[in-house]
């Protein structure tokens, strides 16, 4: 179905609820003195939008607004992921001492707008919409990164993010302009038809795809477009870092899959995709190389980090490499494993950043020394939760991360990419070292005399407990989530 502007509105209510919440918050910011109430309103808006999104799930795939936006299970899945990350981030922000320093009204408005942009990244069906969605997310992210007042690290991180982001999105639209020139249209369906006929000049098309991959890759933080991520993760307020690490990654995955699968490839028998745009060049070899470089670089750089936020940034780069493995095999099993991993990564990484925030609230520090003997300093529950999240990030059974990694590796072994599978295994072992160094510091190291007791932030405890339970439950009973991701591969096919 192909709807016009007014008819689209009846299928657009999650976005309308979120946009309405943003507008109401903007007005309330001018008149309400108690800014903390705005957080609860934002939270309520996100929950209502979440309900609306879940309600729409399963509708017949439709194109809205004159083919600009696609409404299908795939986009709805990523909207649910984005909203879940928003709920987590707002909840974290309520308890965060760092966020208390900033102008709270603006903070929540810009945070929700960032999530709103991710909706369009997930559902763009046109090169223009993809660019607009990506830029909306980027611009709001720069603002949120640099929001901490009189903070050198925050301002520097924002500048670096802006420069890398500007270059990456400029490169991306330069590549898109070549695709536009060769396909003759911005619409994904027309591009698909042009690619099915063999595309255009192979070298030009290959360069264009690499340039586009740079823009998407910067959102996902995979090498060599990952340089911004450690600095930004370290400088930004911790709740926003948590949001960025999971939601920006998920939105990058969404826009990447929608461009390189439904728009450029054709779905064949039994879930296998034919990437027919570049018959003469080995596109998958490039993806294999990128994936290997990303996970190895991320893991090796993480080994010597003393700052836990920076360590988690490098671990995020490594996880972007793991997620990339699903792209290589060019079939629905790989995509399914990617979607599953996105959800699992959301849960465990948000949890890890929540513990970082709790420790930073109590001690004002983020380096490894602040975690010395954490379990014996009155924060036993956060320490145990951190251990669960780190075990899951490593990929140890019976945590959710193990199942996620298992699905990815199973998909690439079935596709006979044995080298990639072996490298992924070796990388898992490498990551064991730095994740478990934190666990060792928390449980086995004696607290130094100057390490005071750590008061756990009370408002964060329910979220922490829920994330920990989910990490363990999804590790032993993952079938419902797998069914959900399988159902979410329903694309709008041009």
């Amino acid at each position: 179905m192909d709807l016009g502007n007014v008819a689209s509105l009846s299928l657009f209510y999650p976005e309308i609820v979120l946009a309405g919440t943003i507008l109401v918050l903007t007005i309330l910011d001018l008149v309400v003195a108690n800014k903390r109430a705005m957080a609860y309103l934002g939270l309520a808006g996100c929950l209502v939008a979440l309900g609306a999104t879940v309600d729409l799930y399963g509708t017949e795939p439709t194109l809205l607004f004159h083919r600009m936006v696609a409404l299908d299970n795939f986009s709805l899945f990523f909207k649910v992921v984005t909203l879940a990350a928003l709920v987590g981030a707002i909840w974290m922000s309520i308890g965060s001492g760092e966020v208390r320093q900033v102008h709270l009204g603006e903070y929540y408005i810009v945070l929700l707008t960032c999530g709103f942009g991710m909706f369009f990244m997930a559902s763009a069906n046109n090169l223009l919409m993809a660019y607009l969605g990506l830029e909306l997310v980027s611009l709001t992210s720069y603002i949120l990164t640099g929001m901490l007042p009189h903070n050198r690290r925050s301002a520097e991180a924002a500048l670096k993010y802006l420069i890398y982001g500007g270059v990456a999105s400029g490169t991306m639209i330069y590549g898109m302009s070549w695709v536009f020139g060769m396909a003759g249209s911005l619409d994904y369906a027309t591009i698909n038809a042009a690619m099915a006929e063999g595309g255009g000049n192979q070298i030009a098309l290959f360069m264009a795809f690499v340039f586009i991959l740079a823009g998407f890759g910067y959102k996902m933080a995979f090498a060599p477009f990952h340089m911004w991520s450690p600095d930004v993760y370290q400088g930004a307020p911790t709740p926003f870092t948590g949001f960025l690490s999971v939601a920006s990654n998920a939105a990058g995955v969404a826009i990447l899959i929608r461009f390189f699968y439904p728009a450029v490839s054709t779905l064949g028998q039994e879930g296998a995709w034919a990437f027919q745009a570049l018959p003469a060049l080995q596109w998958t070899d490039l993806l294999v190389a990128l994936s290997i470089i990303t996970m190895t670089w991320g893991n090796l750089s993480a080994l010597n980090q003393r700052n836990v936020k920076r360590l988690l940034a490098y671990s995020g780069i490594a996880h972007a490499g793991y997620i990339m493995m699903g792209l290589v095999v060019l079939n629905n099993d790989g995509l399914n494993a990617m979607l599953f991993y996105v959800v699992v990564y959301l849960i465990m990484n948000l949890g890890a950043f929540l513990v970082v925030m709790i420790v930073a609230n109590a001690t004002g520090r983020e380096d490894m020394d602040a975690y010395r003997g954490l379990a014996w300093r009155g924060a036993a529950f956060p320490a145990v939760c951190m251990m669960v999240f780190l075990a899951s990030l490593t990929g140890l059974p019976p945590m959710a991360g193990f199942i996620g990694k298992l699905l990815l590796v199973a998909a690439i072994i079935e596709g006979q990419f044995y080298v990639l599978a072996v490298v992924a295994m070796i990388n898992t072992v490498v990551s064991l070292y730095y994740y478990w160094r934190i666990v060792k510091t928390m449980f086995l190291d004696e607290p130094a005399p100057e390490d005071g007791p750590v008061a756990a932030t009370a408002s964060a405890m329910p979220l922490l407990g829920a994330l920990m339970v989910l990490t363990i439950v999804l590790g032993v009973y993952w079938a419902p989530l797998l069914d959900y991701t399988t159902g979410s591969l329903g694309f709008f096919m041009p």
């Binding site: 607009l132 611009l139 720069y142 924002a158 420069i163 500007g166 270059v167 330069y174 536009f180 003393r306």
Partner: protein, 110 residues
């Protein structure tokens, strides 16, 4: 005069693509070599405008529709908002570091 007009009629898609390619390369070069934050932002603008030029050229010569021109209008608008945010951040950097040299503002490392 007439021969110059005739020469202009010969300007085709390739000429525009070469100019935009040069602009793009210059933009990347500036970003990689300059140390002044404002210069780097100017380099980013060059990259964005090279893409904008491409869209208008392709739209005029190959598709014959206005969708490429519309894309360029959006690029200009987003470049303006990016410049606004960029200058605000550069101002904050100047207040905190008293310089906008990107190599002098290195506090984030392990």
């Amino acid at each position: 005069m007439a021969e110059y007009v005739a020469l202009l009629a010969d300007v085709g898609l390739k000429h525009y693509l070469v100019v935009s390619g040069i602009l793009f390369a210059l933009g990347i070069y500036i970003v990689l070599t300059r140390r002044n934050a404002i210069s780097i932002l100017l380099g980013v603008e060059l990259i964005l405008n090279s893409a904008g030029l491409n869209y208008v050229a392709f739209s005029h010569f190959s598709t014959g529709q206005v969708d490429g021109q519309i894309y360029t209008v959006f690029i200009i608008m987003l470049a303006a908002s990016e410049a606004a945010i960029g200058l605000a951040i550069v101002l904050a950097i100047y207040q905190l570091f008293s310089t906008i040299d990107v190599e002098a503002t290195e506090t984030l490392k392990d």
